[in-house]
């Protein structure tokens, strides 16, 4: 018994000794391959250089220029939210243009403007993901003010007046002001497929904006006219 155990141990040691050069060679090959391919680009640590928010001033976020105009609480936004007792809508009115020469899609615009620390505004969480309650919450959607339809593509050369919306739990207090975070991106070559993409989202502007409470007027005048 003892002899056979010793033989097994010797066999095991022999096997690991055999694999050691192989593992070393493989590791060396990987390191050399990375060096030959250009090595790892040094990751530039972003400086925490976040400018204060100025209402009415255009901010260059990379793919978009966004000018924050005003924010208000709406009980109901026609075509956007069927107001109910459980939720209210916080709408940020802003002007948006695309900076490049091709279409930018609405999802990136939604992710470029976030609310920070407003009670009752939860992040949309994909199945399997978890939300960090301390993270700013991106806009749920973006709508064109002129017709109330969803802005799913921003065309170059056009200026859009938009409403960026978040749903707030009606049990939370109506905020008198909210902290906005505008997120910028950099156009660079993707290290995965070498295509030019807007990457590296980082906060570039942050600050508080006054939130106008719902109007005391009973209904929307435009609804009555039509």
């Amino acid at each position: 018994m003892a002899e056979s155990g010793g033989r097994l141990r010797r066999l095991g040691l022999g096997a690991s000794r055999q694999h050691l050069p192989l593992a070393g060679s493989a590791a060396g090959a990987v390191v050399l391959a990375v060096l030959v391919a250009g090595g790892f680009d040094p990751l530039e640590k972003p400086a925490a250089d976040v400018a204060p928010l100025v209402v009415g001033e255009a901010v260059d976020l990379g793919p978009f220029t966004v000018t924050v105009e005003r924010m208000r609480v709406v009980d109901e936004l026609p075509g956007v939210s069927e107001g109910d007792d459980d939720t209210r809508v916080l709408a940020l009115v802003a002007t948006v243009t695309a900076t490049g020469t091709t279409t930018e899609y609405g999802a990136m615009l939604s992710e470029s403007v976030a609310l920070d620390g407003v009670p009752g505004v939860p992040a949309e969480v994909l199945p399997g993901d978890t939300a960090d309650p301390d993270e700013p919450v991106p806009a749920g959607d973006v709508y064109v003010m002129a017709d109330g339809t969803r802005l799913d593509a921003v065309q170059p050369g056009l200026e859009y007046e938009v409403a960026m919306v978040w749903e707030q739990d009606a049990r939370a207090a109506v905020p008198s002001e909210a902290r906005l975070v505008l997120v910028g991106r950099t156009l660079r070559q993707s290290s995965i497929d070498r295509s030019q993409e807007w990457l590296d989202p980082l906060p570039v502007v942050a600050g508080d904006i006054d939130v106008t409470a719902p109007s005391a007027e009973p209904s929307e005048p435009a609804e009555e006219d039509s």
């Binding site: 060679s25 060396g28 391919a37 020469t101 091709t102 279409t103 339809t149 056009l158």
Partner: protein
């Protein structure tokens, strides 16, 4: 003497390197050679550019994956999409009706865009710039489709419709794309920018006369 040659292990011939290490060195050498060759070869945007198959309104433009024929072009500041939703633009909506006939196998021309004379590209989306291919069309059966794209008024004159299969422009390399001159002028741009008439965007339909 002959017995000595046979007894020498082959792995010792590479200055005593183990076989695995020799393999790793050869692998790295092959990678380095490949990278050096890639750097020397003229691999750039020109050599990987797509093949543009061009034509005008009413022309049947043949591509690898099928034929494209623009049948009409309209414009306004207002459109009604196939679901009846009205969209209003501060620029101009260009609405293009066209037919595609798949070649060889069912095809979906998923990339549809307008390209202006400055090189700006205005792509379709789901809601704001409605276009639906209607799914894969059977080869040989013409499908009538429509796309509405909002552009600034200064992009209208000289605009071309670009149609191809892959949504990612990176995948257009060395493939056919249909590029159709819509024959638009500044007069069209001015008239459409002032028009408040609602232009309806048709649903896709099969058959040569389906849209009419």
């Amino acid at each position: 003497m002959g017995g000595r040659r046979v007894a020498r292990p082959p792995a010792r011939r590479l200055n005593g390197l183990p076989r695995q290490a020799a393999f790793a060195v050869l692998l790295v050498a092959a990678l380095a050679t490949g990278r050096a060759v890639e750097g020397l070869m003229p691999v750039d945007d020109e050599t990987s550019a797509p093949f543009e198959r061009t034509g005008g309104v009413g022309d049947r433009v043949e591509t690898r994956w099928g034929d494209v024929e623009v049948t009409s072009v309209a414009g306004s500041t207002r459109i009604s999409d196939p679901y009846g939703t009205v969209h209003v633009t501060g620029g101009v909506y260009v609405v293009v009706d066209w037919t595609y006939t798949a070649a060889g196998e069912p095809q979906v021309p998923a990339y549809v865009a307008l390209r202006d004379t400055e090189g700006r590209v205005f792509r379709t989306s789901v809601e704001r710039n409605p276009y639906s291919s209607g799914g894969a069309a059977q080869p040989g059966i013409p499908r009538q489709v429509a796309a509405a794209i909002e552009v600034p008024a200064d992009a209208v004159a000289g605009a071309r419709l670009v149609v191809t299969l892959e949504t990612n422009p990176e995948d257009h390399r060395r493939d056919d794309i249909a590029v159709i001159d819509l024959g638009l002028t500044q007069d069209d741009a001015d008239a459409w920018a002032a028009s408040e008439e609602t232009v309806e965007v048709a649903e896709p339909a099969d058959g040569p006369e389906a849209a009419s």
